[in-house]
């Protein structure tokens, strides 16, 4: 795919997101709750879409497709076990977080720990742990975009430029208007993620499988068996199963719905999105094993698949992967910056005013983006292992 076409698509897509972000900026007032939680007024549909876009990252269309390509259907079990566990956890914990957030005016997840244990130190430790643990996770999103633009452009756009592109877009979306901007752009991004995945999952089996789906199923029969040893399945699934209550960027989302109906719609919408998106990504991984067999690097399966589809479809899928990465990255950056302001700056200086606190949070956003860029530029490990 030509570099100019890729750049044009990115510019158009970024323009649409930036316009939405700018509009969100005109609606955003002042204060920590306003900036980081959109004044706790996000409706059900947007809550569902932003939760989905935050949760489902570039990992799905790059890492999950890759691991399915290499090791088969066990990846479906790992992802769906995570999804089902998340739904159960959300039905139990979402209303509790939501009520506590309103009752005690909480902004960050570590703040809840500070309140519960009556110690700012506890919250501060949780904050530092969040910062350390989430940087690699955020960096993986940048790496996903970096690998993709490099592969699709045939090396015309270097890996480093892809990293800077994703970081720059995320920085603008999150810095301009906080969660209101992030939630609205997430909704847009979740839309293109689902559309691209559905169209690609229809196109590949119907047009690229030389002798039909039946033959393809026979070809990938070994991949339809559970190939992961039980300890590996458990090792992959168990940490992910608690994602909904351990990852600060998704926990913080539980503070922002407008009312109880919005929480219910958020859970139902996220669950439906997750089920369809996961199954389709696994189908794409299996299809890639038939269409582009023998790749040395499984993380390149999606890029290799995109080289076989029409240019327009390839561009839409490319943008959907950038969208998935950016939406997760903006959420992580926003949450970490709120944690820096509320749980670290405030612990170091308890007399700090809300305006200064907000300024510290906003100042932390570009610093976090820069740290993630540096980490991603080191290109550590296989994407699925890191994320």
């Amino acid at each position: 795919m030509s570099v100019s076409l890729l750049v044009a698509a990115i510019v158009v897509w970024f323009g649409a997101g930036a316009a939405l972000s700018f509009y969100a900026r005109t609606k955003t007032g002042s204060g920590m709750s306003e900036f980081f939680l959109a004044n706790r007024g996000i409706g059900g549909v947007v809550s569902a879409l932003t939760y989905s876009a935050t949760t489902y990252s570039a990992f799905m269309m790059v890492g999950l497709v890759g691991i399915t390509y290499r090791s088969g259907v066990a990846s479906l079990g790992f992802e769906l076990a995570y999804l089902a566990a998340t739904v159960v956890l959300l039905t139990v914990f979402a209303p509790r977080y939501w009520v506590a957030g309103r009752r005690f005016n909480l902004v960050t997840p570590p703040e809840l720990l500070s309140l519960r244990y009556g110690s700012r130190t506890v919250g501060c430790i949780a904050a530092v742990l969040s910062l350390v643990m989430l940087v690699p996770y955020a960096s993986v999103q940048l790496m996903g975009v970096g690998y993709l633009v490099e592969t699709l452009s045939g090396g015309g756009i270097p890996f480093a430029a892809g990293i800077l592109l994703a970081a720059g877009i995320s920085l603008i979306y999150s810095r301009w208007a906080g969660l209101r901007s992030v939630a609205w752009t997430d909704a847009l991004q979740a839309g293109i993620m689902m559309i691209a995945c559905v169209v690609l999952a229809w196109y590949v089996p119907s047009r690229l499988l030389p002798s039909g789906v039946g033959d393809a199923v026979r070809t990938v029969a070994p991949l339809l068996e559970v190939s992961w040893p039980w300890p590996m399945f458990l090792g992959m699934t168990l940490p992910w199963a608690f994602f909904a209550v351990t990852n600060p960027q998704v926990v913080q989302r539980l503070y922002s719905p407008r009312d109880v109906t919005s929480i219910k719609r958020m859970i139902a919408g996220f669950a439906g999105f997750g089920l369809v998106y996961t199954v389709l990504c696994v189908v794409l991984g299996l299809a890639a094993a038939v269409v582009v067999p023998g790749l040395a690097n499984p993380d390149g399966a999606m890029a290799a698949l995109l080289a076989r589809v029409p240019c327009a479809l390839s561009l839409v899928v490319f943008l959907s992967i950038v969208a998935a990465a950016v939406s997760t990255l903006t959420a992580v950056m926003l949450t970490l910056s709120s944690i820096v302001a509320r749980d670290i700056a405030r612990t170091l200086n308890p007399g700090i005013g809300e305006e200064t606190e907000l300024a510290a949070g906003k100042a932390a956003i570009p610093v976090i983006a820069a740290v993630c860029c540096v980490f991603a530029s080191l290109r550590p490990g296989l994407i699925v292992v890191l994320s």
């Binding site: 076990a81 739904v87 959300l90 669950a271």
Partner: protein, 69 residues
């Protein structure tokens, strides 16, 4: 935690565990075909999601969720 919540947590947790491990414990031929792991995991997850959506109808006014209005 109310009795209703405890029942949901235990049964929901067990359901997740059962459908996640099902393809590992089903006999080969039942659990290791195209209609095996793929279908078991997809249908199992859909059922847990449906149950979760149904459970949220009982949120209001029970146990620790009394504050949810």
């Amino acid at each position: 935690m109310s009795k209703k919540e405890r029942i949901w947590v235990v049964s929901g947790g067990l359901a997740v565990l059962l459908f996640a491990v099902a393809p590992y414990i089903l006999p080969r031929g039942l659990g290791h075909t195209v209609r095996g792991p793929f279908a078991v995991w997809t249908v199992g997850c859909a059922l847990v999601i449906a149950a979760g959506a149904l459970y949220t109808r009982f949120w209001n006014g029970s146990g620790r969720n009394r504050g949810v209005r």
